[in-house]
Symmetry: C2
Subunit: 765 residues, 2 copies
Amino acid sequence: MKRYLELDPWNIVENSFNDINNKVSESIFSLGNGYMGQRANFEEGYTGSTLAGTYMAGIYYPDKTKFGWWKNGYPEYFAKVLNCTNWIGIDVYIEDTKLDIAQCDVSNFSRILNMKEGYLYRSFIATLKSGNEVKIETKRFVSIVDKEIGAIEYSITPLNFNGNITISPYLDGDIKNEDANYDEKFWETISKQTGLGNAYLTLKTKKTDFYLCSAMKYDIFKDNAKVACEIEMIEKEKLVGNVVRLNLIKDERMTIFKYVANVTSRDFKIHELTEIAKQKLNKAYIKGFSKMAEEQANAWEEKWKASDIIIQGDLAAQQAIRFNIFQLNQTYTGEDSRLNIGPKGFTGEKYGGSTYWDTEAYCVPFYLSTADEKISKNLLIYRYKQLDKAKENARKLGYKKGALYPMVTMNGEECHNEWEITFEEIHRNGAVAYAIYNYVNYTGDKEYLTRYGVDVLIEISRFWEERVNYSQEKNKYVILGVTGPNEYENNVNNNWYTNRIAVWTMEYTIKVLSNIKDEEPKKYEDLIKKLKIQVSEVDKWKDIIENMFYPKNEKLGIFLQQDGYMDKEQILVDALPKENLPINKHWSWDRILRSCFIKQADVLQGLYFLQHLYDLETIRKNYEFYEPRTVHESSLSPCIHSILASKLDMKEKAYEMYLRTSRLDIDNYNDDTEDGCHITSMAGTWMSIVEGFGGLKVKDDILTLDPSIPKEWQLFSFKIRYRGFLIKVKVTENSIEITNDSSEKLHIIVKKKDYIILGSITIKV
Amino acid sequence: MKRYLELDPWNIVENSFNDINNKVSESIFSLGNGYMGQRANFEEGYTGSTLAGTYMAGIYYPDKTKFGWWKNGYPEYFAKVLNCTNWIGIDVYIEDTKLDIAQCDVSNFSRILNMKEGYLYRSFIATLKSGNEVKIETKRFVSIVDKEIGAIEYSITPLNFNGNITISPYLDGDIKNEDANYDEKFWETISKQTGLGNAYLTLKTKKTDFYLCSAMKYDIFKDNAKVACEIEMIEKEKLVGNVVRLNLIKDERMTIFKYVANVTSRDFKIHELTEIAKQKLNKAYIKGFSKMAEEQANAWEEKWKASDIIIQGDLAAQQAIRFNIFQLNQTYTGEDSRLNIGPKGFTGEKYGGSTYWDTEAYCVPFYLSTADEKISKNLLIYRYKQLDKAKENARKLGYKKGALYPMVTMNGEECHNEWEITFEEIHRNGAVAYAIYNYVNYTGDKEYLTRYGVDVLIEISRFWEERVNYSQEKNKYVILGVTGPNEYENNVNNNWYTNRIAVWTMEYTIKVLSNIKDEEPKKYEDLIKKLKIQVSEVDKWKDIIENMFYPKNEKLGIFLQQDGYMDKEQILVDALPKENLPINKHWSWDRILRSCFIKQADVLQGLYFLQHLYDLETIRKNYEFYEPRTVHESSLSPCIHSILASKLDMKEKAYEMYLRTSRLDIDNYNDDTEDGCHITSMAGTWMSIVEGFGGLKVKDDILTLDPSIPKEWQLFSFKIRYRGFLIKVKVTENSIEITNDSSEKLHIIVKKKDYIILGSITIKV
């Protein structure tokens, strides 16, 4: 843990500049609007440590895969999120010296991510080698109102001299991914157009043929007056821009407002791109920076109204949860069902920006409770649309039927190529099925099931049917050769979580089919025909459900991670010398594999998903066994432990795990935030509060809460959406207030008691 | 299986040219002398399918490793055998048209590997596009008498025209490895020298700084008279040579004799290399081609005297065993204890030319019985010398003591980077220990143990001690997370073979220590001090020996491949549709892993090694269980099955497996001979005959035979060396003849009866 940022309830604040933190800050201070995103790179450029990152949602490139030793079934490509046209660039020359923080003395540095209003602010005083001092202030945002628009206010004030200032706003298509397997560039330039005061640049990706047109326009002000300047146009092979020269006298402040529109062939016809970019740009230009900034603040206010969590008495916790909510809202808006949520969102290239099971297991609950239900529905539809590719994927691996969703994907095709993950982490299929249950249970949207969900459930159940095999030895069905969420063991037999989620999927599928049959017999008939459902296969599922093998230790009363887990030397994490942690940085891989240490606890993940099916005692015994063996070296781990600890009334553990998940990036716990923030695990942070401390669940169509507050907090409050209701929950040590902010009456269970709350009424419990 | 070569007892014969077979033939017709080797590339060059291959033993390059996803503990380099200076090159121009079989009509083609005399012959008639016909005849060898020398006779006869012939003998250093991870060239040119009639080229490897000086000289003959010609010198950046122009009239035959010496900094000081190359070259040049060819034939005759196996009544079997013996003799002579045997020998680049456990498990027995005992001793010393690096390797993976020999190595350092192999195929350590036992048991050379072997045994036992862990659950020691020789399962627990060989190593080590203590108490004291042997560690080994867990199936009376093997769906190979084979080409990797199919049977490998410790019934039950589940997709598999089948008197199976192992390359069974021949498994072929059909073993210092002949054969005979004796064994259906070709009397057990055979006497049994 390395804390160099200030504590603040609404802002992330960096008050001194240090190159070694810069890449971490670039990740943390990232901006995004679900459509595009931008790391906190400097407009004027920087020759120190930096990772350039401009991303457009859904634009990817199938990079030729890199492998050590080929295995049959590996995908040939790894689809990567692309670093796109650098649209923030504004080169600055002070008397012909290029401004570069790496090359001058910096004082009064301040970088602020204003989460309340959704912008990035930076200011500093630079003392150049010449002795010239300038003050720089910048503010920028990517609009959540006009999603194609980014806007920058950049001002320069000479503090101790009169002189020439040259500024050059530009669009640069000469970009590459740091994560390019063979150091290739993925973009080619299609067209350029440069005018006085504007420029246009259209790029196309190789292979995938995505077009991106960026358009820029700007205004120059001296103090508060717009000025006309001497302008020169510049055009390089892949760059367009202007050069503007001004004379400034000491303390005179010049400001450039740069407006950019980025439009892509994902949304518009290729031949219209430039025209549409122009239109959108002009609209923004006319609106102007202040007006747009105001709209941005208002729009964020709306978002916070729906999703803010207040924590009193613990500034670190307060800041952290807002940061998590802010980043989640920046990453995914749910407007585009072709999109999903990469583990790093718009904050870095790592993990290729692809979709993992994180979405279903962690993100869906967040969006279910904080956004319109169509948003989580869109996340589900994304997988529904990729069902055919998941079936293809299963065929490719030799399965005669069923669907295997990819472990990592951009377009439905598998990207990853470690056999123990690609082929063996089949539990992901369970998470996809579980998310359907979770969505329907929360929203009550049964129509989703009939229309989309059941298709997915059937194909996943078919996969499980073929994937299990009958062990003559055990007289049970077994699942051999899998890797569970705990990637610190590979190719194991009978991973409890995988076996359990497989059976659960088949149980749920059968139940869904039976409900449709009862409630909509006609649709049921159609379904049977469409999906060619055989009685024999459903019978097989029932047989598997009844005869699945689960590894257990009866003496300890626990489910086993996998066959043979108890043969491992049983040591607790506390007994490890501190310098061994994280073990993934200090131990050889085989030592990790052989050890009993768990990256994230599969059994607990299963008990979290299926907590309605297990008694507290079972959960407690498993928790007490696995938590001391878990090293939490997956960002997805601590939140589940926090939630279960809350459920088990282990308050200190719940709080410890909450801090670990919520400040993972701000405090750079795992020393890897420079690659980008852990976006998907941020949803887990939210879950730690709302499901953990808040005890939220929906059971038999009734919203249920069971709040308890960590002793470190005076108060915490959160808001949730639930089937059209907007509900506020405020918890202190001695009281629970529930406000029904809707007009309808709400049936709710709090601390095991039923309440009916009328519209716009607050109750205290 | 694809048979395009002719059957012949002493030659490999290709009687028509087909480009699609060329790379396979280049492998099969390779020449070598243990010091250098050469694929059967064409002297005049070839623009069709070809893999250039010129190798110098022990010259390697640490190529930067390629990996998909890095794992802690992986080596950063993969040491590769290098393609070296092309010294065979003789460009030929017929009236200015370059001779290239790919560009002309070829008739009367013949390529012959004369195994009796150790040379490669090729002849053909080429009809050029111009209509000109030339006859080409070439003969070449790498000398087993003067190891640095290669010699070529290359003759050209115009058949239907008078005209200009230009020939250009050269040395070309502009070579690269096909198997270069990043397409780099590994050599740089250090010096060049070109004269009239000679040329010298010195190259140096990057990083490893091996110097290779090649020197060439030549003579030109017209018919049988040496002629002086117009000569031009050529020098390119990395090439030196001459161009010689002649006029030939129809049916006039010109011949060039090209002599080359290759010397390296492995054997000589760098500044002397050119001088030494010149000396060696001149010596060869003076000797002349015919004389050298004659010496070569005589030297091979000696080799055959020691190692030939005769099979009558089965030409395919006869040819195959000679091919296997020939290639083994070409690959390793045992003169240089820094060298070892790469799986492809001098026939290809694949597997990097590195050392695998193949050497200990398969090659040592061959050299023990067919060569002076110093040769197998040198193979053992090779590992002894690398003991420190094996200890380092263990440290690198986190072991506090002991040694883990690398899975793949050139210089003692690990090269391979698949975690399931690199870290988990620890059974290799057992094979290294077993080879010591095997050597001492065969030769009676107990001094080897005290001086070298015990150090290795102690460190390997220490490794096992740390690698096992005690399972509270089983109340036994277990070995978790390993891959056995059967690489079709990875990261398994309690692989029977690994557990057994680990315990065997500790048993043997204790026995060796105890013998030394009894027989040489002073040396024992020194050893205890030198190796810091603790009573406590030996006690721990004893505890492990007594309490090791072995997976078994009591009902079937078999040892289990690993924990959970019986949970797999039990199918037999015969039940698989033929088009599924080989499964490694038709199934996804995870399907292979989950299946019960075995690449090579670990349990049988263990029962082969330790057959003196198990009764026939045990071996039979295991054989009958595992053989039908084994797909033999490792070249090392069928020989072990053949030997055990012989032991179990399953004659048909033994013969089937013999043919499979012996003609693996000649018939290109696994469709991969183009990469090179399976040299190490050839030793297994020899074992199939001598240990299998011959029933050879040494028990309590007495040589034992138990011959039986396959019904397809009329007679087979082999020769073995044993503790100074040279013994001939001739077996027919009704008789066994044993000749003691030495002067001492020999005590031998044949078919369980004791015989004393006086010197130079043959007995019939």
